[in-house]
């Protein structure tokens, strides 16, 4: 492989890494912007997971409710998948989802390059499977 070609490839991969870092930075900044918009209400005081029931959904501001209801329906999703349903920009949904994570209503898990968001109902599934196994 020629030297210019190798340089070209390594610069492409560096650019890709820079883009990923910028994306992550962007995501964090969106969360900070959202938090500053909604002040103290956004942070769960004890930092404990809270329950995303319908009354909580009703109490959320409109923009977050749309994201939260969509995630409830999808069970687990990336910001891209939520954006597809809400017809809003991915970056916007990413910001809202991360805010819901900070509020303790939603959990986030990174798998490879993708971040998956979900409402935690795991404990329920475990309980249910135990009962089914018995019956």
């Amino acid at each position: 492989m020629t030297l210019p070609r190798r340089l070209e490839q390594s610069s492409a991969s560096i650019l890709q890494k820079i883009k990923e870092c910028l994306d992550q930075l962007n995501e964090k900044m969106e969360v900070m912007i959202e938090l500053s918009k909604h002040g103290q209400r956004a942070q769960n005081p004890e930092g404990l997971p809270d329950v995303l029931d319908v009354m909580t959904l009703l109490s959320l501001p409109d923009h977050l409710r749309k994201t939260a209801v969509t995630l409830c329906k999808l069970e687990q999703a990336t910001a891209d998948e939520v954006a597809e349903h809400t017809k809003r920009a991915r970056a916007v949904e990413s910001g809202y989802l991360n805010q819901l994570v900070l509020m303790g209503y939603v959990k986030k898990e990174r798998r490879g390059r993708k971040a998956y968001f979900y409402v935690d109902r795991e404990s329920e599934e475990k309980e249910a499977s135990k009962v089914w196994e018995k019956s």
């Binding site: 029931d53 959904l57 409710r65 409830c72 069970e75």
Partner: protein
């Protein structure tokens, strides 16, 4: 893809259960595969109407995570409709079960919402049903809001008295608008004199249009012969030519256009 329809009202006694049963039977008699679920855990009624014996699992059990939805469903296609599939899921009418359901905490309600939402997969996708109808509790409470959030279409039933109209109006503003749900309004038990007089009918429609931010999909007259049967007759099957069923047929068409 099938549809989940929630039938709800602000006050009790508006005719939700009668409408739910007959709409479900009407769809089945058209050859559709239908499931009717009693989600009124405070005042379960389908058990008394369908008189199903030996119920092993209730909708309560499904929401408690004790069983799959299939175990709850009873197939009444042979006895209650002429065509199609007619499945029902009953709410447990025992006092103990009612008390238990009213004492559930927020975490349980969140899980119940998850279970209701997953009915879209289990009933519409896996069992290939065309319509699932939720008969809900009146007013603003967990079980009915969970049902509304999990449905594709919500029908709000209201009577014509002022307390019902005002309450329904507030409920729509504070609940339905927030969830951006496809919703239609049904006025039930409207006096026939009002409906037969052009002016009075126009006045009522105008009043409703001013009160509600919702499409009025039907005004159903008060039928004395329906009241006389005490809810024991499924008109959609036993008397399909009845004017009540003709109006429900229009409701079925309107649902598709919401």
């Amino acid at each position: 893809m099938g549809k989940i329809i929630a039938i709800h009202s602000y006050k009790g006694g508006t005719g939700k259960t009668l409408l739910s049963i007959n709409l479900a039977a009407l769809y089945a008699n058209k050859g559709k595969n239908v499931c009717l679920l009693d989600l009124d855990f405070r005042a379960p009624s389908l058990q008394a109407i369908f008189k199903v014996r030996d119920v092993e699992y209730w909708v309560n059990d499904y929401l408690n995570g004790v069983c799959e939805i299939k175990k709850v469903l009873k197939d009444l296609s042979q006895t209650h409709v002429k065509r199609g599939r007619f499945l029902i899921g009953l709410a447990n009418p025992s006092t103990e079960a009612i008390r238990e359901m009213t004492a559930k905490d927020r975490k349980w309600e969140m899980k119940a919402l998850g279970r209701l939402l997953s009915l879209k997969t289990s009933l519409l996708n896996d069992m290939q049903l065309d319509y699932v109808i939720f008969d809900t509790s009146p007013g603003l409470q967990y079980s009915s809001i969970n049902a509304i959030v999990s449905s594709d279409v919500a029908l709000v039933v209201s009577g014509t008295d002022i307390s019902d109209i005002k309450g329904t109006q507030r409920m729509i503003d504070e609940l339905y608008d927030l969830f951006e749900k496809k919703t239609g309004l049904i006025m039930n038990k409207v006096l026939t004199e009002v409906l037969s007089s052009k002016n009075e009918r126009a006045d009522l429609v105008k009043q409703l249009m001013n009160s509600y931010n919702l499409p009025l999909i039907e005004m159903i007259p008060c039928f004395c012969d329906i009241l006389k049967t005490g809810g024991a007759t499924i008109f959609a099957t036993e008397n399909p030519e009845h004017p009540f069923i003709k109006t429900l047929d229009r409701v079925a068409t309107s649902i598709e256009n919401l």
